[in-house]
Amino acid sequence: MENLAESLLELVRLASTSLPADVEATLRAACDREAPGSAAAGALETILENVQLARQKSTPVCQDTGTPIFYLYCPPGVSSRSLREQVEAAVAEATRRSYLRPNAVDSLTGRNSGNNLGLGYPTFHFEEWGEPYLQVDLLLKGGGSENVCAQYKLPHAALKAGRDLEGVRRVVLDAVYQAQGKGCAPGVLGIAVGGDRGGGYVHAKEQLFRPLGDTNPIPELAALEERLFEECNELAIGPMGFGGKTTVLAVKIGAYHRLPACYFVTVAYMCWACRRARMVVRDGKVSFSQQEGV
């Protein structure tokens, strides 16, 4: 694979400074629905103003540029080691240029590495696929939203949640209630049903790459997404937890196979600043996009 250093740097810059068009449009529609003059409308107006300013000045939408989470889909024969090194170099350079905040902290000493590189940092998911091109998807996920993510083990007696989609519905409502405004509402919910505990989070975060307006191809999940979207908003937690009509921007659900003994529901809460970007390298040509889903 050719030298992608500059392109990968552009991918990081784009993800940090330019909110995807579908997310911005959804926020704008939400702003129009809130009562004029309310704290909720005020928060959304500020958010939209900030999004425009960040894009115009090429500065981070949010100062918590989060964990850079890379999903790399490679054609056969591409060296994942070489790609990893190039991504790491781009992340360090993006940090030097203030597109990213230095966020990698040694858990034992408390020292910040200063360049966003460290053990298990950033996060990589590699997959070889049958397509003839390389695709690099990047999600920047901040700490406030990561702290309100939740994983439930069904059955859950206190929530009267059994091992079925009604049980999934109940625990997701609980997760959104528990989060209140702390994950920077209005959030995008990426949900995984099944999997092991680790795989559940990986799959839940994959859902965050889906365009906000898409429809789940699995009818039961599409129906649950729609119902949860309505019901989460009925909680009226609102932007920033100020109260209001917009508590979530979208609900996206995926399902994995599971062990007979295990039934996990994983809720990856993403803040309103759902910062994702995609880079495709085909026949030596690089292109970027921020709307199409995985």
Partner: protein
């Protein structure tokens, strides 16, 4: 809901005039401080039998800056100019609730009049706001480029090497920093109100 402009240092009288829902634009010098900073202040100043000699200078500086002052829960993205001075590039609030174990003691020890953050805080901070005369100012989470625009000068920075850029004490001069009062000095909290209302709705949805 009323709108106010407040200059730091803020008086108790000015704080007592504020109620939840009011919007405020803040002017003056504030200090950023988050997880490492709060743990440090508690261990070295607030609950320490004696402040270590090595930390005395910073202690005196913080006492001066925070009297009637405001601490901002924020870990900024910064840029260093060629002349060595610093610039805030992105500077929205971080989640405040992590400082709940410390905040009430820090408010009373330093004589602070406010905390800026996001997500709200708990019962002990609300009590300290009521007893001492302080307010919780909510900034819009993620509005980082916009808020950075209201930071007119980085006056100084402490503990940058030890704590790292996000966790350091950044002393900044702000103009027109936009916030909403979500916890006031009269025992009111928008966060408590919204949580209580959403709990009722949650129970309804669970019964349906």
């Amino acid at each position: 809901m009323a709108a106010y402009d407040l200059s730091i240092p803020i008086s108790e009288q000015e704080i007592r005039a504020l109620h939840v829902g009011d919007t405020v634009r803040l002017d003056g010098v504030i200090v950023t401080g988050r997880d490492a900073a709060h743990k440090y202040m508690i261990e070295n100043f607030v609950r320490a039998a004696e402040t270590p000699v090595s930390e005395q200078a910073l202690y005196q500086e913080l006492l001066r800056l925070l009297k009637g002052g405001v601490i901002y829960h924020c870990g900024p993205v910064v840029r260093q100019r060629k002349d060595g001075s610093w610039e805030f590039v992105a500077a929205g609030p971080t989640t405040s609730i992590r400082e709940e174990p410390y905040q009430a003691d820090v408010i009373t020890h330093f004589g602070m009049r406010g905390v800026i953050g996001k997500g709200g805080m708990g019962a002990s901070t609300l009590q300290a706001c009521q007893d001492y005369g302080a307010a919780y100012f909510h900034a819009v989470g993620g509005a980082a480029s916009l808020i950075a625009d209201s930071v007119k000068q980085v006056v100084s920075v402490y503990k940058k090497e030890e704590f790292g850029v996000p966790e350091a004490f950044w002393v900044i001069r702000v103009e027109g920093f936009p916030v909403v009062v979500t916890m006031d000095s009269h025992g009111q909290s928008i966060h408590d109100q919204v949580e209580a209302a959403s709990r009722v709705k949650l129970h309804e949805l669970m019964e349906s």
